[in-house]
Symmetry: C2
C-alpha cells in the first residue's frame, strides 16, 4: 500500500541550503548525504545552490580558483548521476564548467557558470549556462565566466518541465519570461548572494527584500512556481575587507508569489509540494500570456540605457 | 526666503485615492478640490486614479456607459489644464476617451482607456492609451476599450520624465521595461482593482499582495520609482452578484521596491519625495541595463502560450 497517492501533476521538490568550507571533497560528501536525506523524505527534484562544491569564488579575482573548474562529465556530475539513478530523483547540479574552446586547433578553454540537470534515471536531461554575469564588488564573475551561450530553454525531466536560471538572472524579467514561454513549470534559481552585513545593516534588509520581491514577481507574471536556493555562512572571514555573509532565505513560492517554504539564514533543507495543474488554472484565469502585446515589444531588444556594465 | 531648498533632481508627487459616486459632476468637483489641496501641500506631480470621473464601468457590459466617453480636449482635460496652469503642477488625468475612427468617411468612433499628462503650464505634455486590456469577470474592459495604439513612450514634463501605464499593464514586466528604456524616471499606474471580498477572503489577500509585489518588482528591475493609484469603496453595492470592494493601497516605492508611502483602504492623499539622482546611482551600481542579454531576448516577441485571452 502506498503512503500517499501521487497525482502526476504533483511534484515534491527540495532545496539544499548549506554553508561551504574550503575542502571541496568534504563539500561534496556532505551534499551527497543531504540529497539522500531529501530523497528519503520524498523529494523528487533536488536543487543545489550555485557553485555548491566550492567557496563562492566571485568574492575575489584569483587565478588559483580556475583549478575548481570541471568538465560536464567530471567527478561532480558523475557523482550526481549515480545518486540520481539510485534514488530515482532529478538533481539540479550547478558547477564551474570548463569546456574546449571553439577553435579546435588551440588548447584554449572556455569557462562557464553552469548547471546540469540530471534526470531520475541518471542520464543528462539538459544543461544551462548562466546568461547574465555580474561584475560587482565581491561578485567579480566576469573574471571567471563567459556569458552563457545556450539560451533560455526549459528542460524536460521525469517529474516536471523545469527552467534553470542562475543567481544574477534573478533580476531580469526577460529570463523568467522566455524560460516560461519555452515550457517551464517551475523556475529554479541556484544562487550565491549575501551582503557586507556589518557595514550597512539597513541596506542589507533592502537588498534582501528586493531579492525576494523580484523573484516572487516572476512567479506571478508567469503563473509558475519559483524555487530559489542560496548558500549561508560567512566566507573569507579572515580577510576583513571582503567579509561577506550569505543570507540564505531559500524559498519556494506559488503563482501568486505566496511563500510555500521559506528558509532561515542557517543550514536547512526545505521542501515544497507543487501542484502543476493549479498553476495552469491560475494562468488561464489571469490570461497574461494571451494578453501580452507582442506587437509592441520590439523595444525589449534594445540595450537602450548605459550603466556600469555597458 | 524659500521654505525648502528644491534640488532639480527632487520632485514631490501626490496620489489621490478616492471613492467614486454615480454623480460625475460631483466626482470632478471633489477631485479638483483634492488636487488643490495636494498642490498647497507642495505636490508638483499629481496622479489621479484610472477613470477617476466615473464608477468603474468595467464591472459590467453596459451600453449606457458609453455616454461617459470624452474627447481628449473635453471637459475633464480642460478642467485639469486650467488647474495645472494655476498651480504650476503636472496632472496625470485618466479618462474614457472617444476619438474619430481611422476611416474619415464614416462616423465610426474608437474608444480607449486613456491618460493625458497635463504639464505645469497647462499644455498637453503627452498621452497614453492603455495597451493591455483585461477581460475578466468584473473587469470586462474589452467591451469598452480598444487596445492602446500609441505604444510605450515616456513623457517629458516640467518636473520629471514620466511613464504612465494603466492598471492591467501592471502585470506585464515588458511594459515597465520599455517605458524605462524610453526614459521614464517614475512609473505611474492609475488603477481600479478590487475583489469580491465577502466571497473568499484568503484569496483576496493573495491577490492584493501579488499586486503589490508585481509593481514593486518593476521598480527594482528598472531602478525607477513606481507610483500606483487605486480607488476605494464598494461599487454596485445594490447588485449583490458583483459587489466589488476596491482595495486602495495606493503606494510609492523606490528602486529597491521599498515603500515610501502606502495608503490604507480608505480615502487618502499620499505624498512622496522622489530623488531622481538617487535612482541613477542605484541603476549604475546594479548594472542591470548594461547586463541585459538583448542578443538572446527574441523569444519575448512570441505569444507562445495560449490561455483564456488567446
Amino acid at each position: 500500500m502506498i503512503k500517499e497517492q501521487k497525482n502526476k501533476n504533483n511534484v515534491k521538490i527540495a532545496l539544499i541550503q548549506s554553508a561551504v568550507s574550503e575542502d571541496i571533497k568534504k563539500n561534496l560528501e556532505i551534499t551527497l548525504q543531504k540529497i539522500k536525506q531529501a530523497a528519503k523524505n520524498g523529494a523528487q527534484i533536488v536543487c543545489l545552490q550555485e557553485l555548491f562544491r566550492t567557496i563562492y569564488i566571485g568574492e575575489s579575482e584569483n587565478k588559483d580558483y580556475f583549478k575548481f573548474a570541471e568538465a560536464d562529465n567530471g567527478e561532480t556530475v558523475a557523482a550526481m548521476q549515480k545518486l540520481a539513478k539510485e534514488n530515482k530523483i532529478v538533481i539540479i547540479t550547478p558547477f564551474f564548467e570548463v569546456a574546449a574552446g571553439k577553435n579546435k586547433n588551440t588548447n584554449e578553454k572556455e569557462y562557464f557558470n553552469t548547471a546540469v540537470v540530471v534526470d531520475a534515471d541518471g542520464t543528462i536531461a539538459g544543461k544551462y549556462r548562466k546568461m547574465h554575469i555580474p561584475n560587482d564588488p565581491g561578485f567579480w564573475e566576469r573574471y571567471y565566466f563567459k556569458n552563457g551561450n545556450l539560451g533560455f530553454h526549459a528542460i524536460q525531466t521525469k517529474y516536471a518541465k523545469i527552467g534553470v536560471l542562475i543567481c544574477w538572472d534573478q533580476w531580469f524579467p526577460e529570463a523568467a519570461r522566455i524560460m516560461t514561454l519555452s515550457g517551464a513549470e517551475i523556475l529554479f534559481y541556484p544562487t550565491a548572494i549575501g551582503w557586507y552585513k556589518e557595514k550597512e545593516s539597513a541596506v542589507y534588509e533592502e537588498y534582501k527584500n528586493g531579492w525576494l520581491i523580484m523573484q516572487r514577481s516572476h512567479a506571478i507574471a508567469n503563473s509558475v512556481y519559483v524555487a530559489s536556493v542560496n548558500r549561508v555562512g560567512k566566507e573569507f572571514a579572515d580577510k576583513s575587507i571582503d567579509k561577506v555573509t550569505f543570507w540564505g532565505n531559500s524559498f519556494v513560492c506559488g503563482a501568486f508569489g505566496q511563500f510555500i517554504s521559506h528558509a532561515s539564514e542557517n543550514e536547512e533543507i526545505i521542501y515544497a509540494d507543487c501542484n502543476l495543474s493549479e498553476n495552469k488554472d491560475v494562468r488561464d484565469s489571469w490570461g497574461f500570456f494571451g494578453g501580452r502585446r507582442t506587437d509592441a515589444y520590439k523595444g525589449l531588444l534594445k540595450k537602450g540605457i548605459k550603466d556600469s556594465k555597458k
